[in-house]
Amino acid sequence: MQITQWSDALSGWLIGLGLPEWAAIFLVYAVGAFVLINYGMLSVLLLIWITRKVISRIQDRIGPNRVGKFGLLQTVADAAKLLSKEDITPREADKIAYNLSPILSVSGVLMLLAVIPFAPGLIGVDLNIAALFVVALGSIGIMAALMAGWGSNNKYALLAGFRVVAQLLSYEIPLVLSILTVVLLTGSMRFGSIIESQSLHLGGFNLGVGWLGIVMPGALLIFFISSLAEAELTPFDLLEAESELIAGFHIEYSGMKFAMFFLAQFLNAWILAAVMVTLFLGGWQGPGVGLPVVGPLLGFGYFMIKVFGVYVLQQWIRGTFPRLRIDQMMYFAWKVLVPLTIGLIVVQAIVQKLPTPVAVHYVLIFIANVGVLAIVASILQKYFREEQMRTKRSFEPTSLIGTMQVNEEGTMY
């Protein structure tokens, strides 16, 4: 399926109007960047509204409903309020690191939008190393958090900065390795061809449901868990554990600089959902995307539905799961996810070299993935059961004051 890029079409039209080639290409890319960045900024308004509504419903509240229809403009009002706040810089702060950090954290996330394929042919740049590009740009966010933590000259901010680096670096490894399973199967790091390989042709008609997530549910789950950690969402939101670190690495920030960190965080969650949809859930693939005119429109619709679906799922988890302790978080990354993904890659590399039909490869990979899925699920189930028992025990009225005993460690039962 040959898809013409939007940029080629537009620059071809501009050259036809009599513009020199370099000017046409420059103009087209400038327009593309302008549209993408503004889309990113504006979509955050919607993302924050979705988050607040979903979490409100989970907590048996109504959520914002006063400003605009269904409270849709609540975020606009909040942004206006944040703009009017005083911009504080601590006196002993490192001015360069302090002021650069919010800009870096937003720009690192916005650059990721360039490789997101929204619809057939609608992609900023179909980079041949897009999968690696997504991972590499994550390091800018880590750098920004470290700069904010250090530049604020606040011990809580610095501690939170260290936590961010520990968490993001740890979960980057299972994230990269689970992306590698997809790259191994499709033989490409280009998002365009990864999506095209997920089509399912039936008698010349593209059903578009050959999603890799069906063949590799284990890798999908590991990617989803790691992306939750990368986006600093619950259960991995101990970067802003109020009871331990007050607010996190952005404690000293106020007004719009504070808002920029939040913008980056929400957009990062959405983009990681988009990457997950691209890699595992078929991207813009769906029934009828091969059709001539309505195809791209349908593809755009499918992509958005899937991405916002995953985003709502993230927020659902945010509303229901308890926060992990830092040792539990590190344990889960290094002793569960990393060995499992490495095992998955080894199995997959051997399976793909077997001299059998491709269908047999898929079946074997599927079996390995189901095994991984079962192991992760059983570990999570064991943890949550223990956690539930522990909480129940701590709330039970075990003793009256007069009969309270002190054990060897000096803690009271």
Partner: protein
Amino acid sequence: MELPLGIQVPIPTFEQFIFIQVALVTAVAGLAVVTSRNLFHSALALTLTFFGVAGVYVFLEAEFLAVSQVLVYVGAIAMLIAFAIMLTRSMMYGRTSPLNNQWGKSSLFALLFFMGLLAFARATPWPAASEEVIADEAMIGALGREFVTTYVIAFEVLGLLLLLALVGAVMLARDR
């Protein structure tokens, strides 16, 4: 373009224009690494230099190398340097002078070293790209194949070295 005094100034093409910007950022950031009075700012400038070098790789159409550069140098090495500075220096008062009492001698040797490098670079006959340069995705595949065929020993030794470093770090950090 001709300036009033009859000086010919070549108009840079669009690509050259962007390359000049990238090169300037890289060079200025590199200078800031050694002249900055605050060690943490030096580390930040070093990160910017790494980005600039990645930009140069993009101009050489080696996107894979550019992204690897960002991933390894910015994502890991710059972070490690920043950590080392933050954990060893007192918080905000890590101001140091970029000069010590040996600056005269060391600048002389640095100059000599630079001259040597320059002479070496000018004397070496650099091969022009004779073969067809493999572009795009085929390049990544070719690179991977080279790693497990021609350069397999170097590749394995590097892996072993990293493993040793990892084991050493665990040994140093474990509870005794």
